[in-house]
Symmetry: C2
Subunit: 160 residues, 2 copies
């Protein structure tokens, strides 16, 4: 089994600058953690793993928010109600699905995505575009696709 980092030859610092972000100590640490994890993490879990480097929770919160705005990290509503965060792999995969044990909470990532094919079908039949999914299917409905429709509503935390 390969690790997620196999796909990421690019150094965190380089990757950050490529995306127009400053490469600070805290940010590099956070990217490393996200990069190394095979499963989405909560903000608390990320903080737990970077606190040793003197990184504050607020920094985790704000930086992950920035990554999500730039769509470099994907927010996932986990089945237990927690909100988790997953870095987007740079190998073409945009998301993953998981098999979670209700008893021991073990998580197994699944490579396959059965929904994609269905997603295309739904998009065709209902006239939606830009569909994506993590839990439920979501997209933009015909009315909202019309030019001049109200601006896309921000989801999640925003940055100052």
């Amino acid at each position: 089994m390969g690790t997620r980092t196999d796909h990421h030859a690019i150094e965190p610092a380089t990757w950050l600058r490529q995306n127009g972000l400053r490469a600070t100590h805290a940010r590099i640490a956070i990217v490393r953690i996200l990069d190394a994890s095979p499963v989405p993490l909560t903000l608390a879990e990320i903080h737990e793993k970077v606190r040793s480097e003197g990184c504050d929770f607020a920094t985790v919160f704000r930086f992950v928010s920035i990554l999500e705005e730039k769509e470099l990290v994907q927010r996932v509503a986990w089945i237990d109600g927690t909100t988790r965060h997953e870095i987007r792999a740079r190998d073409g995969h945009h998301h993953h699905h998981y098999l979670i044990c209700r008893t021991c909470q073990k998580v197994e990532p699944l490579d396959e995505c059965v929904v994609e094919r269905f997603e295309n079908q739904i998009a065709r039949e209902r006239g939606y575009s830009g569909l994506s999914h993590s839990l439920q299917l979501s997209g933009v409905c015909p009315e909202c696709q019309k030019p001049g429709a109200k601006a896309r509503k921000k989801r999640g935390p925003t940055t100052p």
Copy 2:
């Protein structure tokens, strides 16, 4: 288009007693609201609809928790991060999927479930049983299926 209640000839009070629950004014009101909604609701939304009957938020919280323990209501991690609750239909359907507009938040329920077939395949290949899904796939792993494995861990709020 039919309403969800088409499937529910049983009166809320009768249904509650059948499931070993007391039929109080507040509980009947909450069941009615859940029954009538085509989409999962947040606790705040449920409370909003029953507050006119003098039903407290804590009552909504505790009663929905009881229904979830008895698996009469299913908890859903919504894509916007909210936690929602959906009553289990008594017509064989155990869950639904939804098409959500990112712009106007409109929700369209989808009848089809493409994951079921996949779920069976996963269950076979990985030795899982009792799989279900709403966002991620979940089930019980081989180790936890062994007789004498540790008791099933409670999810979500518990009752006193």
